[in-house]
Subunit: 111 residues, 2 copies
DNA sequence: TGGTACGTTGGTATTTTTACCAATAATAAG
DNA sequence: CTTATTATTGGTAAAAATACCAACGTACCA
């Protein structure tokens, strides 16, 4: 059995992924490095909000950043992260199949 | 690009995994179905707390439950979930390698 | 030197998550 | 029927996550 301490470490990384904006950032960084302003341009949120999402990803070790001129460049450190999305999709599809009153869309419908 | 709506759906499932107790439950359910009392026995938390963790997992579609006599039996619906842990471990090991002041152990040390 | 673009940090209000206790519902056993 | 056993639900308090605005630091340019 996995220890609670090990589970805590893992959960910090998973928690870092558990926000729609951060998932979108991970997804887009899979295609290659991007500057803050490019990432920021994807969202309507305040830039400070986007900056803090990137900090969460960085502190967990999922992304890294480096300065390049006046830009800050973000990079996905561990691309295998996105392999996981296939399984997440499997959960979603399974929910549809079982007609579960699930969280998909938050409306208790069949996604 | 993934839409924000799709990212929201995914994030609900990932958020359901983002707690040490729930990760441990997923891990142990990979070995096979278990009753509530067996799962509850793994933790020192109040049984209501454990029950609510199981509810979170159930509502996300990660586990399912069925009544058997006086027991409630929990089952991992989507075993591929645990494949992901390998990549989470890769993140952790990468953090060590980079000597990052990371979140591992919450102490800013090399895990 | 002054101004401008870029990104982070501090502060705060709101929402969400979490954990416990107590009470309830459901089933089994005596 | 009464009493245990089993698990969930309601209520509440504390902690964490989230988003915004404002202020700041940094680098570049005129």
């Amino acid at each position: 059995m996995i220890t609670f301490e090990e589970a805590e470490i893992r959960s910090r990384i998973i928690k870092a992924m558990s926000h729609p904006v951060r998932l979108m950032i991970i997804e887009v960084l899979k295609e290659g490095e991007l500057s803050f302003s490019k990432i920021n341009g994807m969202f309507e949120s305040d830039k400070s909000t986007v900056s803090k999402h990137l900090l969460v990803l960085k502190e967990s070790g999922i992304v890294s950043s480096k300065k390049s001129g006046s830009d800050m460049i973000y990079k996905l450190e561990v691309p295998c992260i996105t392999d996981f999305f296939g399984c997440v999709t499997a959960v979603i599809e399974n929910n549809v199949k079982r007609q579960q009153v699930c969280l998909c869309g938050g409306r208790g419908i069949s996604c």
